[in-house]
């Protein structure tokens, strides 16, 4: 068997491992093993690639070690609450890598290092040029788009959607510029001007990534990251066409297709369409007030809150991003245990998109050792919510906003919510009087049976825990 055959057979094995990996990641009990399988596939693909002749070994190994080190440290050090941002960041790096591969391959084709090849004057077929452009465009948009999403999620850029007049026109112009430069480049990839055109494509793609994500509100970032993840797969796939490599095509395409499906599933969980997420400028609209809210926020002291909780027989806790920021999950779990000891039924109601990513809250509560059985989904809570004595909303906002159910002018109208406003009493833990991540006012806070517990979520919950312990 020739070396090439061995390499290609190994790539097939790697592809099979990826398929099984993705399949198993979709089920709770096999997910961890699925991830392991796909990482084995990746290891196999990389090791086998190193068997190629003529690689610049010291550089390759150095780069692999450097990247592995950075990735390892980042993954080890990140707080559970910082996961979403990190995924966005990694995803952006993957996109940029595909862009660089496309660029490097083109540069190599027109600047061969050896004299013999230079005499032959490299030919770049139009198809290769076209997929190079694709790898660069998709990779570039993925990179800056992911970076922008990372900035929004980590609070470095405002979470609110930004839109300005002529934004859609600008995006359309950028896209047109990319298509025009890309087409002309592909027709004559070795012409004098071709390199300039390619650099133009690179710059325009990077700009488009930023301006495409800019008008999307922070609350929709999970969907955006999922879509960009799908894109980074397609970028890798295009890079595979550039260098005629089957494992890149298969793996990239698998990620592209499955990522797209996942994006649609996420949108469905929010009861929105992908088009609506991407183009509606969600959260940038100024809200028409429906005149229903009295505008009166009724604060309550932790002492009074304790007396109400102490008498409660049925409590649901509705966590949101505020709990993640305050790192309050351990205190919350302690409060839950004390309530149970006090003969009260405690459940945690998890909205599908609470936090900054689907499953965000499940991860945090699991980290705090909250029993799996106490986590209930939105659809299981809502039918019996009128029986609940106290609903404690900890740093959740949009996912409990009644406007989604009854205010047709609201941008989040139609999104299923946890109907906390129907509980007998609702406590909302909030740092200040600001609006939620989507930038919307929340009618729940002014509802007649709602009491506001201002302050840092962790401090407030710890205070309640202390009172329970003293009694």
């Amino acid at each position: 068997m020739s070396a090439e055959t061995i390499v290609n057979l190994s790539y097939i094995v790697a592809a099979i491992l990826f398929v099984f990996g993705i399949k198993m990641l979709g089920k709770a009990d096999t997910a961890k093993r699925g991830n392991l399988l796909s990482s084995l596939g990746m290891l196999l693909a990389v090791v086998v690639t190193l068997l190629n002749k003529g690689l610049d070994f010291p550089l390759v190994i150095g780069a692999l070690a450097l990247g592995a080190g950075i990735g390892f440290v980042a993954a080890k050090r990140v707080q559970m609450t910082g996961m979403p941002e990190l995924v966005a960041l990694f995803n952006g790096f993957g996109g940029l890598a595909s862009l660089l591969v496309g660029w490097a391959e083109y540069h190599r084709a027109i600047h061969p290092a050896s004299i013999i090849e230079q005499a032959l004057r490299a030919e770049v077929p139009s198809f290769t040029a076209a997929v190079t452009v694709l790898a660069i465009v998709i990779g570039g948009i993925t990179f800056t788009g992911s970076m922008y999403a990372w900035g929004k999620l980590s609070g470095k850029l405002g979470g609110r959607a930004l839109s300005f007049a002529g934004q859609k026109t600008l995006n359309a112009l950028l896209a047109l510029g990319i298509v025009a430069s890309g087409v002309v480049f592909s027709i004559s990839p070795t012409a004098e001007l071709a390199y300039c055109l390619l650099l133009t494509v690179i710059v325009l793609s990077l700009l488009l990534g930023i301006f495409a994500v800019m008008p999307i509100g922070g609350g929709d970032m999970p969907v955006v990251i999922s879509l960009l993840n799908s894109c980074s797969g397609l970028a890798a796939c295009a890079a595979g066409f550039v260098i005629n490599n089957n494992v890149l095509v298969v793996a990239g395409c698998l990620v592209g297709a499955s990522g797209l499906i996942l994006t649609v599933i996420m949108c469905k969980a929010m009861n929105r369409t992908l088009k609506n997420v991407l183009f509606s400028g969600f959260g940038a609209t100024t809200q028409v007030s429906s005149g229903e809210s009295s505008g009166e926020l009724k604060p309550i002291s932790p002492e009074d809150a304790y007396y109400i909780l102490e008498a409660a027989k049925n409590v649901i806790i509705i966590p949101g991003y505020g709990m993640a920021v305050a790192q309050a999950q351990h205190a919350v779990k302690e409060l839950g245990e004390l309530l149970e000891a006090n003969d009260c039924e405690v459940r945690y109601a998890i909205h599908p998109v609470a936090g900054r990513m689907p499953g965000h809250m499940n991860v945090l509560l699991a980290e705090a050792d909250v029993p799996y059985e106490q986590l209930v989904e939105m659809d299981d809570v809502n039918p019996t919510i009128e029986m609940v004595d106290v609903a404690i909303v900890i740093g959740a906002n949009d996912v409990v906003n009644p406007a989604a159910a009854n205010d047709e002018s609201s941008p989040i109208y139609g999104m299923p919510i946890i109907e906390a406003h129907k509980a007998k009493t609702t406590f909302c833990l909030k740092r200040g009087k600001g609006a939620g991540f989507s930038g919307l006012e929340n009618q729940l806070f002014t509802a007649p049976n709602t009491r506001m517990l201002y302050g840092d979520a962790k401090a407030t919950v710890t205070n309640l825990v202390a009172q329970f312990k003293e009694s």
């Binding site: 399949k23 979709g26 592995a68 559970m80 996942l262 499953g359």
Partner: protein
């Protein structure tokens, strides 16, 4: 012929990708996203091949940067996914 084969693979992989994920519980959305994001780091293979002895200066360094970035994506992606999934272990069973 090579190209036709690649396109063939591409189309089949697309269908497979669409079929692989049907019903995913919402708590697995994030790990799934993170896990498939790690797979998209497969571009590291292309990056390695770009750092070739017959590449001239710029392509070597572009390739070098691509390897570093893609490896961060791969190693970090798999580890973060593993950490997330480690949280979902059912306690006390």
């Amino acid at each position: 012929m090579e190209l036709i084969l690649l396109l063939f693979i591409f189309v089949l992989a697309a269908f497979l990708g669409f079929e692989l994920i049907a019903k995913v519980p919402s708590q697995l959305h994030t790990p799934l996203m993170s896990g498939s994001n790690a797979i998209s780091g497969i571009t590291v293979v292309g990056a390695i091949l770009a750092v070739h002895n017959d590449s001239s200066g710029l392509s070597v360094w572009l390739g070098f940067a691509a390897i570093v970035l893609a490896t961060i994506n791969v190693v970090g992606g798999y580890m973060v996914t593993d950490r997330m999934l480690g949280m979902f272990k059912k306690k006390g069973k």
